[in-house]
């Protein structure tokens, strides 16, 4: 099996706030991330697709097609957006790296038809990232 990884970057704003918490509890649990004015990151997303290369093309998948999918599904959805207000898939969730990666996995997994989505790694910063990996139960969490 071969794994192919494509990388992209998007910049977005967010803050953490749970409406069921008191103001004090939001500050205690989320620290500086609870600032209601928001703050931003340059997120880096690595998308890995695994499969056997097609014997005729030598490719697991057409990278141009993957690039188009990522542009449509990730860049247009999240780049230069406020994740608390502008991404419906994150409604009702705290837009942490864990939740963003989970949303991206659910969006991307059914769209990869050549090979299968093996891993997505989302960096919020160089010292914090989340890995989503396939666990063999397609479509499940």
């Amino acid at each position: 099996m071969i794994r192919v990884t494509r990388k992209l970057e998007f910049s977005a704003a967010h803050f953490y706030h749970n409406p069921n918490f008191s103001a004090e509890e939001n500050r205690r649990v989320f620290g500086k991330c609870s600032n209601p004015h928001g703050h931003g990151h340059n997120y880096i997303l690595e998308v890995t697709v695994a499969g056997e290369p097609d014997p005729k093309t030598g490719m697991v998948l057409d990278l141009r097609e993957l690039k188009e999918i990522l542009d449509r599904e990730v860049t247009q959805r999240m780049d230069h957006r406020h994740l608390n207000y502008e991404v419906p898939e994150l409604d009702g969730k705290i837009p942490t790296c864990e939740e963003i990666a989970t949303v991206l996995w659910r969006i991307l997994e059914p769209k990869i038809h050549q090979g299968h989505l093996d891993r997505i790694r989302l960096y919020e910063s160089p010292d914090l990232f989340v890995d989503c990996t396939a666990d063999g139960t397609k479509g499940s969490r």
């Binding site: 649990v29 989970t102 010292d127 396939a134």
Partner: protein
């Protein structure tokens, strides 16, 4: 789908690779420059991965404040700016190769109560990295 959260830290430390029961020549042959009796050091980059359910109230596998303070207490405060051969008790019993540093750090972190520690990855230099994964994942 499986989710894990990784956090990156760093600590400078020194070590020397040798076995006291071996001759200087034998140590030199096996460990090369790393056997230098005066020791040498690295800026170790440490990545710690944890896994578990995402708490819907916080969106988190583990709060970074909890993870950071646990890693600081169990590892960084103990390893930072030390000569590991003499100042980390585990290395009285084994050679402080980065393979063993990974294993020792993993064992020190195993008691984290907020999530399961899935793995430890260490870059000894920009060219060498080592990863230890929880046995159930192998």
């Amino acid at each position: 789908m499986k989710l894990s959260l990784w956090r990156r830290y760093s600590f400078p430390a020194s070590h020397r690779l040798f076995r006291a029961e071996w001759s200087a020549e034998h140590n030199e042959r096996v460990f090369g420059k790393c056997a230098n009796p005066y020791s040498h050091g690295h800026n170790y980059a440490l990545e710690v991965g944890v896994t578990g359910p995402v708490d819907p109230a916080t969106g988190m596998i583990a709060n970074l404040t909890d993870l950071d303070s646990f890693v600081r207490e169990k590892v960084l405060d103990a390893f930072d700016h030390t000569y590991m051969n003499e100042q980390i008790p585990e290395f009285r019993e084994c050679v402080p190769t980065t393979e063993n540093v990974c294993r020792v750090i993993f064992q020190r972190l195993a008691g984290f109560s907020h999530a399961r520690v899935e793995g430890v990855r260490i870059e000894e230099t920009g060219k060498n990295s080592f990863e230890y994964t929880a046995p159930s994942n192998l």
